[in-house]
Amino acid sequence: MIHALFVINRSGGLIYSKDFSGQVAQLSSNEALIFAGTFHGIHALASRVSPALKGRAATRDRGVQYIDTKGLRLHCFQTPTGLKFIAVTDPLHAGLTDVLAKAYKLYCDYALKNPFYSLEMPIRSDLFDTMLRQLVQAS
């Protein structure tokens, strides 16, 4: 069960946030923006302090993929273009990379191909909402 989903653009701005279950705290729009900015920062920092790299960038660290907490798990999927899709689930929920990749595909279809969407701006598309809801319910 995916409780909520966030999309963060490449400069750390929140461009989409949706609650699906009502089981996590509702963030006000301001709080959600702070969440996005903070997550963006954590993601960037986490890739810089990896203790596991051998030599110079033998394996590059690609930033946060999961955050585990007592009651929740956050999954992060970063696209090659720097967009981040973040899903909030129950703890120990199995990997969601494929679902988030599908959400990315929906973004490519229903946001980027929509003439009324401007790049890097919040996504306001009924079709995107509907398709995403279907995806979340199916997963």
């Binding site: 996590v24 705290a25 969440f35 302090v49 790299l53 930033g63 946060v64 585990d68 009651g71 956050l74």
Partner: protein, 199 residues
Amino acid sequence: MVVIYNIYIFDRHCECVFYTEWNRHNSPLAAEAGAAHEPLRGNLVLTGDRDSRGSFDSQRPLVWPTKPGAQQVPRNVAMEEEAKLVYGIVFSTRNIISKLAGSTQPGNGGGFLSLATNTYRMHYYEAPTGVKFVLNTDVNTTSMQPVLEMIYRNIYVEYVVKNPLFHFDPKVSAPIENDYFRAVLNNYIQEISSSSTTT
């Protein structure tokens, strides 16, 4: 098999009061110390104050901050920087998690446990007094909470807090220079690393 990379201890003043590492290949400490001292055993590198301790210390990993008296080595900027970054990560993560979990308690109310990238996993434990333990392991090691709690309860409290020489001033942060603490912690971590049962 658990691979443990390093541990950071932060006090309530956001200062890194203790750091040590194992199995690490890109250490900012080694970059500093490596110039003066050649590595002794595998990837374990000697600390800067070897001379004052003799061969007794040769089996120990690097620690940071070093004793003020032993600071022939100049301040390690890379290490200081890294400690700040790590603190920034756990502090911000703890905060957004509290928001997301709807927790209004101070401290780790949201229950932040760990954070994983594709190369390592960062485990977080916050003691009721506000002392923060950050332990980095390999990605597949999921739960280190018992270990961190053990380190806090049975090593930190026992050997640091109960040490009569422990200089406790709530206003100033003091690096942990307790040799006994280091030795016990090192033994404990070695034990966990070699036991395959802990996951």
